[in-house]
């Protein structure tokens, strides 16, 4: 691996998120982005003049417009500035976070603004995703973003009853978190007595993946402002330090024939490498919060095992014992996660923004009450693509 230590430290100095919803007819794309840009600038107490570089990201084909960053200059503030566009699918927000960190660490820019957005209501997500596959070998076989692979795996491992119950427990916990977060797109107010009904009666999508398990299509934008150590300390008393990030992409692990991952998942591979080079031996003990890119309750449940390098049924126990709740041992997605809102190009950046807010202690009604010093955020893309970002309260590693 060509990994080297960063040139200089980088801190998050401002975050902005729109309210997420299914429809934003009242604003066009640039105007929606502008809401998050303005919020992040206000949060950092900066003006656009203080920003050196703008990185813009979304799933290019999802709104069916080309070169969206050029359209969005009217709202993004990129006029006359150095700017980049990223479009790495579901991981776009994670890649934006990497780019913000790298560009500020490089020394080329002191203050970098990362913008993730999606207006899925305007486009045709499945049309965009279908276009991702090889026209000859795979396009006619695609099922879009829906798969029950994680359900098949968990049911085979732990039996249908336990697996289904764990996934629904995960789902209800996420909804309870979503109900605390005023930005949530979907917050139903689910409760434990609805468990059996939902497991039985939520409309099935594919196999054991039901509508209630699955994330939404959302409109919304998220902005995170990164600054070099020196600048970050000038800008705010509460910078959140980006300790490290890692990107792993390995498409062939998605085995269409038997629904199994033949080797380590990219999640586990990324987590192992990240912890190893940062000297973290027990991630479950180390981190105080994990904002996970969890496209469905099945995936969220299954992936806990990968991200925390767990064995056997430890991940199921975390869910079953409700240790992943906001006041639990390892709070997962106090924001409600991706099932609560999924504006794809923003989604993974929202994970980073939410993790940063938890460390600052001003996340709002869904703030974890215990002190948060170490946070992890993940991104996921449909072709087995993982991005992990580690955030710290103190600059002491």
């Amino acid at each position: 691996m060509g990994y080297k230590k960063k040139n200089r430290h980088v801190g998050i100095v401002g975050v902005g998120e729109t309210k997420f919803s299914s429809h934003r007819e009242d604003v066009n794309q640039a105007e929606m982005i502008h809401e998050a840009v303005r919020q992040a600038l206000d949060d950092a107490n900066l003006t656009m003049d203080d920003v050196d570089c703008v990185v813009h990201g979304n799933m290019e084909l999802f709104e069916m417009i080309h070169q969206p960053d050029l359209w969005h200059t009217l709202g993004s503030g990129a006029y006359g500035k150095d700017a980049f566009r990223l479009t790495t699918g579901g991981t776009t927000g994670g890649t934006l976070a990497c780019a913000g960190d790298n560009l500020a660490a490089s020394g080329m820019y002191d203050v970098v603004m990362a913008i993730g957005f999606e207006k899925l209501q305007e486009g045709h997500t499945t049309g965009g995703i279908t276009n991702m596959a090889d026209p000859l070998w795979a396009r006619k076989l695609q099922s879009g973003a829906l798969t029950d692979s994680a359900a098949v795996k968990l049911i085979e491992e732990f039996g249908a009853e336990r697996a289904r119950r764990a996934a629904m427990t995960y789902r209800i916990i996420m909804d309870k978190h979503a109900c605390l977060n005023p930005n949530s797109h979907r917050a139903f107010g689910l409760d434990w007595d609805q468990m059996d009904d939902l497991m039985e009666n939520s409309p099935p999508l594919i196999g054991d993946l039901r509508l209630i398990h699955m994330c939404s299509q959302s409109d919304g934008a998220c902005v995170v402002i990164y600054a070099s150590e020196e600048k970050a300390k000038q800008i705010t008393d509460t910078p959140v330090w980006v300790r490290d990030h890692i990107t792993v992409h390995r498409e062939e692990t998605l085995d269409l024939c038997n629904n199994y991952y033949p080797t380590d998942t990219t999640h586990r591979f990324a987590a192992e490498k990240l912890y190893e080079r940062n000297g973290i031996t027990n991630p479950l003990e180390y981190f105080d919060v994990f904002e996970m890119y969890d496209p469905s309750a099945w995936w969220g449940t299954d992936w806990l095992k990968e991200f925390f390098l767990l064995e056997d049924d430890d991940h199921l126990k975390l869910v079953e014992n409700k240790e992943i709740m906001i006041d639990g041992k390892m709070p997962i997605n106090p924001s409600g996660g991706v099932i609560a809102a999924n504006p794809i190009g923003a989604t993974a950046l929202v994970r980073v923004a939410e993790a940063a807010k938890q460390i600052r202690g001003n996340a709002g009604p869904h703030q974890i009450q215990k002190p948060v010093n170490h946070a992890l955020a993940s991104a996921f893309g449909g072709t087995m693509w993982t991005v992990l970002t580690m955030l710290e309260k103190e600059l002491n590693w």
């Binding site: 502008h34 200059t73 305007e122």
Partner: protein, 296 residues
């Protein structure tokens, strides 16, 4: 699968890409005033002193929220750039060729992209003044402005000084009849028997009646006043030397050609010739012309 080549298959694909685009509240208000009031409005940033059209909620220069600062614009503007679309593809609004132009409306600081009609493709140029023509049926899109077309001047005019070139020429031809001569005698009061009395005329060197010299000469008037320089021209000077008589039934051609620019006064000098159907030079001379000045 196309199998034109026996060993290399090619997939023909087609994807449907349906989408919506949310105009937003600000964009929708812009469209509503075009649709309902036939008014094009922009949003003004007071801080930057700029008027944006199409409108935008935020000034992208200074980040001020300008979404309530509507200003009414003229429905006329100046073409700042254009292209002629000549290739045909299914997404176009019209069958090519057509003109796509950037139009800076009076009162705006940015240009609006739209269609220009009513001007010959070869004559299209940057700087022309155009006016919005609104659509009969609304689609609540920017096509509620159907197109822009050139603003016609109130009066048509001939060539201006700047449009004239050395060598430009024009002419007028007419057959001179007995009736013309009698009417000219009446107009001028010149009842000289050379023009009116055949028996008298037989005793003259010409042996028959001839037209008044000023009659063929006057055929240069429609050339100068209506063709070159044309409508709106003033002629402060004409000199003529008569070379041959004009007999009844002769067909006379009066021709003017630009030969010189009088730069100091922005006038032009034209060489004049009159010829008949026998290619004889009837008269020659020159004129000084004050070409029309473009109005407005």
């Amino acid at each position: 699968m196309s199998t034109q080549s026996p060993d290399s298959f090619v997939i023909d694909g087609k994807l449907a890409l349906p989408y919506q685009y949310f105009a937003g509240r600000t964009g929708s208000r812009f469209l509503t005033s075009i649709r309902d009031e036939k008014k094009i409005k922009g949003l003004k940033c007071e801080k930057c002193n700029k008027v944006f059209v199409p409108p935008r909620q935020t000034c992208e220069r200074c980040f001020e929220d300008i979404s309530e600062n509507w200003v009414e614009l003229e429905n006329a503007g100046t073409v700042t750039g254009f292209t002629i679309i000549r290739y045909e593809e299914p997404h176009q609004p019209f069958k090519p060729p057509y003109i796509l132009a950037q139009i800076k409306l009076d009162g705006a600081d940015t240009s609006l992209t739209h269609i220009v009609k009513g001007v010959a493709l070869s004559q299209m140029k940057t700087g022309i003044r155009v006016q919005a023509k609104f659509a009969k049926n609304s689609t609540s899109t920017i096509m509620d402005i159907d197109h822009f077309r050139p603003i016609k001047p109130k009066f048509e005019l001939g060539y201006s000084y700047d449009e004239l070139e050395i060598g430009m020429s024009a002419s007028f031809t007419k057959t001179i009849t007995e009736s013309d001569v009698y009417q000219f005698a009446g107009i001028s009061g010149d009842f000289n028997p050379m023009h009116l009395n055949e028996e008298f005329a037989k005793m003259t060197p010409f042996g028959t009646r001839i037209a008044h010299g000023a009659l063929p000469q006057s055929l240069i008037a429609p050339v100068l006043g209506m063709k070159l320089p044309g409508l709106g021209t003033v002629i402060p000077e004409i000199t003529v030397r008569f070379r041959k008589p004009t007999y009844f039934g002769d067909t006379v051609t009066a021709t003017a050609e630009v030969v010189e620019f009088i730069e100091a006064r922005r006038w032009v000098k034209l060489e004049l010739t009159w010829t008949n159907q026998r290619d004889e030079l009837v008269a020659e001379g020159h004129a000084i012309a004050i070409p029309p000045t473009p109005m407005g």
